[in-house]
Amino acid sequence: MKSETWKEMGLRKNEYELIKKILGREPNYLELGMFAVMWSEHCSYKNSKKALKMFPTKGERVICGPGENAGAVDIGNGKAVVFKVESHNHPSAIEPFQGAATGVGGIIRDILCMGARPIALLNSLRFGRLDSPRVRYLFNGVVSGIAWYGNCMGIPTVGGEVYFNKSYEGNPLVNAMCIGILNRDDLTRGKAEGVGNPVMLVGARTGRDGIHGATFASEELSSESESKRPSVQVGDPFMEKLLLEACLEVTRAGYIVGMQDLGAAGITGATSETASRAGLGMEIDVNRVPLREKGMTPYEIMLSESQERMLVIPQKGKEKEVEKVFKKWDLEAVVIGYVTSDGILRVKNGSKVEAEIPARALTEMCPVYSPEKKEPSYLKEAESFDWRKLPIPEDMNKVLIDLLSSPSIASKEWVYRQYDHMVRINTAVRPGSDAAVLRIKGTNKAIAASMDGNGKYCYLDPRMGGSIAVAEAARNVVCAGARPIALTDCLNFGNPEKPEIYWQFEQVIKGMSEAAEALGTPVISGNVSFYNESERGAIYPTPIVGMVGLIEDISHIRSQGFKEEGDLIFLLGKTEPELGASMYLEVVHGLETGRVPVLDLKKEKAVQDLCLEAIRTNLIKSAHDCSEGGLAVALAESCISGNIGADINLVKENLELPELLFGETQSRIIVTVDKNKKEDMLSLAEKFGVPTSLIGEVGGRELKIKVSEFSDEIINLSIAKMEKAWRGAIECLML
């Protein structure tokens, strides 16, 4: 073997030396390839493992946390929900349609191999600015890819978020989340238990696509990335739909010991992970793997990332039954090997041994690194930025319209109307509100789910930004009437070998952990995506939080739209003089700097508890989180969604107008209450220690905002005008 082969495969010198030590000999080409993919950042988390230990992962509802294919939490009634988010950034950057589609396919299989029926998809997307034709191509491709895969699978895409910022121009983010449901007793693990049990490969045939996809995901994007297009897999949602039904059928029949999807690192990943989790070994014969084309080498077979395949470990003697179920669905199910006691992953080609590696060596023994870290210098400058030196626009109506029509704030209807968001008839609150709500059939319960993460905040203050990502996701499900119960996360960062990037990474995790701890929402699964850099530099550090909440009674489901004329509008929480890092500065002044709003976790928890209690006691009729764009944007959204206006009176106090209207102070929720229940709301708020003010009344066809000290209305806009700006913005740019 050429001495530099390990280098070409992305391994480091010390890693190559360790491999030789583990094996007690030189690895052959296949073995080296297997190590290279399994020890890539994407599969091994070698740069992130240490920092990830900060996350709180335990809680009374948690059935299983990180380390499995997906996390699971108990929701009562003998049921559990399983969920996880995963990135498919690099593939989507060079082949948006297939890249995004196979991202969806992959996360669905992660949920499926827990034995759960996938019931919802969400996705969090980041692109550059829509004035670039390349960005429009990526945006359009990603959205149609997600739609194609999810719609065909019959799994509704119920929510998510999309932001546009130039930091993502060369490297878009595509994070897909899937939620599944199952009876607790049906939970399946990705474990190859029982020596002598057969190992079956089911679903699609193995082809030459996606070889070294995991390695590709572990480098920066460059002008040569285009040539890596063959590393992108090609999806077939129809095949996966059949696979889904067949896998659930064999699971429910009780034939299965363990199940694992074939994603990154293909057969190598699935066999070594299942064997290693059980502390056992596995022997497989590549000769038995059904192939899409002739002449594939053991290397290609072991590393192929062909989609729509699963590894199934049935009880010995149930092979025929499993085969029969798959045959019913017109799918192949082939025994490729069996579980062994010696802890070795042995790959044979007929009688010839092609590779012999301790399974644990591939999954557990990769060196763990503590990359160098350094606080970036730009932070000081951002912190000292004083927005008060900027001119204040005369016309706040125009500012509000500009904000409503900025693509990051504007309605994402252009996106979600391409997704089937209703199939399976559980979607009680559709996309477009703070969180999506899904009823749980056979119970009186529902779950709410939301995805959040503000990259700009994290860039300007990683620790605070990390906390805010968790808090906002939790606040969103609270607004839907749900108690947040657990979260999954996707951490999208630049190259961790750069000290500034690693510093950001650690700070973000610190902030997220603090918030997750304070809000009682353990981290039950997640994914790290590094090397999100192109020739334009690194993306904003972007942690995405997928939060799931539980609604104990479907009568507690709420949405953001104002409901009835005469209802009183309250602001839970208090607006502070904060304008740094805001959408206002970005849209009005083209600035992305300043001090990030301060999150006080005690205040946050109190506001969320108050909102939930007021929903449970039937005080609150609608609830909407104040986030990007501040109070004025949130009020406009509630007017548009409810198709009814509002009369608002604000007190200026020590605030400047832009802070009052567009500042992004955390821990604030706009709620509406029946006109006879003013005192009830105020006294409940006092009990929870949350500063709460009556700011207006629902009614009319306009949003009117008056501010103390000013005699004229500062804002007076018809719903029609706001809706046109908000709903039409993205469609207009995509024409």
Partner: protein, 232 residues
Amino acid sequence: MKFGIVVFPGSNCDADVKHVVERVLGFKADYLWHKDKSVKGYDCIILPGGFSYGDYLREGAIARFSPIMEAVTDYALKGGLVLGICNGFQILLEAGLLSGAMRKNDSLQFRCHDTYLRVENEKTPYTCLCSPGEVLKIPIAHAAGNYYVDENTLKELEESGQVIFRYCGPTGEVTPQYNPNGSLNNIAGITNRDGNILGMMPHPERCAEEIMSGVDGRKIFESIVFWLKERC
């Protein structure tokens, strides 16, 4: 009263229809496998929505050759009630049980949102509980609902009252503005001449319970039940 729901590989609204028939209406529903050759013993056959055979080749083009389609055709030609929803409608067109064809939506995109439908003929098994010209709010979810048929057949369909639903505005106005896919004459659903076979693009099973933001879809199912009871 018993409903049969055909499951093709790739059907994905089968469970939704079953839920509505059993849990909302309180009748029995069985899944019928696409490889079966009989639909005996059922009062109404439903071809549900989804992506039969992944929409490969053309929506419904492969499913129409499924073994069960012969039995469904026999059943329909003898006057049995057959309802095709979305992909089910596309299969009925491909099978020649209804006239016309589906093209891709004029937007060339999948579309999922509420639509308003004007009931154009309330004297069918599927609309007999509706009032003339009633407006129903029922969602669509499809990439190919752009109904097309030749001019003469269109005229015939219109004159013989086979156009059952038309996309319209909230108060029943039929204008291009409310046409979500480019279908001729805003057509959302048609029957055969005898009125026992209905194909419709919108999904009535998605709005049959209060919690699913609307119950207008229930009227279609309740009409079927009413019709079947009256006939007996």
